[in-house]
């Protein structure tokens, strides 16, 4: 009984401490922190928490496999994934838990509230990097000089717009006269930028505007693309729909009924519509990743254009984190965090798809150990940026 009481008292004390304590950075904590002593020196495993909003998408699983099966086997690093994060509170709690567990760094692939993520990481002395999407410009400006903000490497919103533009242009250059467009999950910002790019690529204006920001702003305002506001040139937009719900397939068949020569999608088309589009004999395109399902759709189906990410494209973020943890952070000339945009790789036939897919296979990723070793250590910002740009499959 006494023992039990003693235990209860110590637990109560712990709770009281929790109640009174402030969020002390890990550097002063008891977990053996991270920032104070470089991991390379101490030889300890670098523990990285990964925030994820998508736990089941093929792209997300590809990223996970690269970290857990390739990187973890080749470096003294350990990755722990969160459950599916759906809001800012979940993201903040996850970071705090990683801090309580003595982690060294956070890699974010969840974007409910990046500013709060960053602030929470800083408050807890965790290095933080973005591997999917990018911070808004004003957020980057606010945090770029903070030592715990390692940086961001991934497709920027400009890169998303470009990916959409190139896709639209591909079909316009091909001489296609009628297209349909799937806006995926607009108003998801990534999809908004891609869709705006597609409109520009096929030579269309939206609400009289052709400037990127003006079009993007209108799409956000309309919560989608109002086909009546689209003024096309040589390529006619004969159908548009977005989202995935009870009306989706009716809308798809209405689009198919309008007999487009191509179906352009800014995401998820192979998951949702491959069979219907194959059956209808309509060529389609997507912005996704180099997955098995996309390979199959390109080889035996009507997928003719894929702008994709590859699993090891998140390698540079890992390298940047390792550098920060090891005390050799990569900063630009002004001492600011890394900010590098990655473009999509484009496959237009089975051969080019195979080239990229093969180049980024499990044991031989594009950002392999050999490549990453050149990016880890005392590396200048320019060398780091060059390595990111050079390794594109």
């Amino acid at each position: 009984m006494k023992k039990f009481l003693k235990m209860m008292m110590s637990l109560s004390l712990a709770f009281a401490l929790a109640a009174c304590g402030s969020s002390t950075p890990a550097t002063s904590g008891d977990s053996g922190s991270t920032a104070a002593q470089p991991a390379a020196v101490s030889g300890k495993t670098v523990k990285i928490g990964v925030l994820v909003a998508d736990v089941s998408g093929e792209e997300a699983l590809g990223f996970r496999s690269y970290f857990e099966n390739y990187i973890a086997n080749n470096y003294n690093a350990e990755f722990t994934y969160t459950e599916q994060l759906t809001d800012a509170a979940g993201e903040k709690a996850a970071i705090e838990k990683f801090a309580a567990q003595g982690y060294d760094a956070i890699i974010s692939m969840s974007d409910s509230d990046r500013a709060t993520q960053l602030q929470t990481s800083i408050d807890n002395g965790l290095y933080y990097a973005v591997a999917s999407g990018m911070l808004a410009d004003e957020q980057f400006e606010q945090y770029k000089s903070n030592e715990y903000f390692v940086g961001q490497v991934g497709p920027s919103m400009d890169a998303e717009y470009e990916a959409g533009y190139e896709m639209g242009k591909y079909f316009a250059d091909k001489g296609v006269k009628k297209v349909a467009l799937y806006g995926a999950f607009i108003p998801n910002p990534m999809h908004v930028y891609r869709a705006a790019g597609v409109l520009a690529g096929i030579g269309a204006t939206y609400g009289g505007a052709s400037e990127k920001d003006a079009v993007v702003g209108q799409i956000f305002g309309d919560q989608g693309i109002d086909i009546k506001k689209v003024e096309t040139g040589d390529v006619e937009l004969v159908g548009y729909f977005q989202g995935f719900g009870d009306t989706t397939f009716d809308e798809l068949f209405a689009c198919i009924g309008a007999q487009p020569e191509a179906f352009l999608s800014v995401g998820m088309a192979t998951t949702f519509f491959t069979q219907n589009l194959n059956d209808a004999g309509i060529e389609f395109s997507d912005i996704d990743s180099f997955t098995e399902a996309n390979g199959e759709a390109m080889k035996n189906g009507k997928l003719v254009y894929l702008a994709g990410k590859y699993s090891s494209s998140i390698g540079p973020v890992f390298a940047a984190i390792m550098n920060a943890v090891n005390g050799t952070p990569v900063r630009d000339a002004d001492g600011n965090a890394i900010s590098l945009s990655q473009d999509y790789l484009v496959a237009t036939d089975a051969a080019s798809f195979e080239k990229y897919a093969t180049a980024d296979k499990g044991d031989t990723p594009i950002f392999s150990k050999d490549v990453l070793d050149t990016m880890i250590g005392a590396v200048s910002y320019d060398d780091f940026a060059t390595a990111v740009a050079a390794n594109r499959g």
């Binding site: 093929e58 699983l61 919560q223 009870d246 009306t247 009716d250 068949f253 998951t271």
Partner: protein
């Protein structure tokens, strides 16, 4: 159903809502230069969606009419379809007969899951709404574990499934078969009589010797079977199954069945309630097709709001029908 009602009035009563809905929506589409159903493929999916709504509504109403709230309907549909498509693919590799085998397996597995859910309810003897919370979480967890949270695609993408979704006759036959089965089992068997007795007065029914436990378990099994078919139809329609729903992510399908259930119950005053559910499903399918036709003007957000408002307005009418009739009756008649 009121036995003293004239046949003419029954027909008028039963068809008034679907016909009115059809006319309003068709005119709305026509005025705006749109077609509710654009082509043959659209019609195939219209009938398929009608089947999905009718079956879900029936599954919801079986237990809800008896005061048993069941959140697990969606999770049963998904788990049954994931298991059956995996088994079907392992046996036939997507070849001929895949759709038929998957449908049969869906019914069997769905019924088995429903049976298990019912057994949990009658064994634990805790309120069904709570049992269903636990069962939903368990079924979602099993589905996620099997699929690793991924979409299941390969196993449901084959010529056999395409052929099923590509011809409305199959969906119509399924509707007819389910309707016949439901009318038979609930209106012409001892189980059905007992169900009706338990529904109207549980205490009296149990005291007269009706085996409530057996009746409840069969109800759950039937619900499971129906949701198994819904899972199959959803897979045929979407050509994929989302295995990633956790934390009650699967319950949304239940909420879509409320409006057709109330409409069906209303129509059921003039004809068999199950036919009422079919007609209600028809109304929902027309509304859905109209939403699709107006997808550029009516966003998904607006669709949710319209559905919610329709639900409340219809229930207000339903709950105040007599009062409204009194108010609308000419004063001379009243006097």
């Amino acid at each position: 159903m009121n036995q003293t009602m004239t046949t003419n009035r029954k027909i008028r009563g039963a068809l008034s809502i679907p016909v009115l809905t059809g006319i309003i929506l068709t005119v709305l589409c026509a005025v705006n230069g749109k077609a509710m159903i654009a082509n043959k493929t659209g019609f195939n999916f219209f009938v398929l969606y009608t089947a999905i709504v009718m079956l879900t509504t029936m599954a919801l109403s079986i237990n809800l009419n008896s005061g048993r709230f069941d959140f697990s309907l969606g999770s049963i549909a998904v788990l049954a379809s994931v298991l059956s498509c995996r088994i079907t693919f392992a046996l036939l590799h997507g070849g001929t007969g895949s759709a038929v085998l998957m449908l049969v397996l869906n019914i069997v597995i769905g019924a088995a899951i429903g049976l298990a859910s019912g057994m949990i309810y009658v064994t634990l003897r805790i309120p069904p709404i709570i049992t269903s919370l636990g069962v939903t979480l368990v079924l979602e967890g099993i589905t996620f574990t099997i699929t690793e949270g991924k979409y299941v695609m390969n196993e449901v993408r084959n010529a056999s499934m395409s052929a099923f979704a590509g011809n409305w006759i199959w969906s119509a036959l399924l509707i007819a078969a389910v309707l016949a089965f439901m009318i038979w089992i609930f209106d012409h068997t001892e189980f059905g009589y007992n169900y009706a007795a338990l529904k109207s007065n549980q205490k009296v029914a149990v005291n007269t010797g009706i085996d409530e436990v057996k009746n409840a378990v069969i109800c759950y099994a039937i619900c499971g079977g129906l949701m198994g078919i819904v899972g199959f139809l959803q897979a045929a329609r979407s050509t994929s199954i989302n295995g990633g729903a956790l934390n009650f992510g699967s319950i949304a399908i239940m909420f879509t069945a409320f409006l057709p259930m109330f409409i069906g119950c209303y129509i059921g005053k003039y004809c068999n309630e199950k036919i009422g559910f079919l007609l209600a499903a028809l109304c929902m399918s027309m509304l859905n097709s109209t939403f699709a036709a107006f997808s550029n003007e009516i966003s998904a957000f607006m669709q949710s709001i319209i559905n919610a408002v329709l639900l409340v307005v219809f229930l207000i009418y339903l709950s105040n029908e007599d009062l409204l009739k009194r108010l609308l009756r000419p004063s001379a008649e009243r006097g």
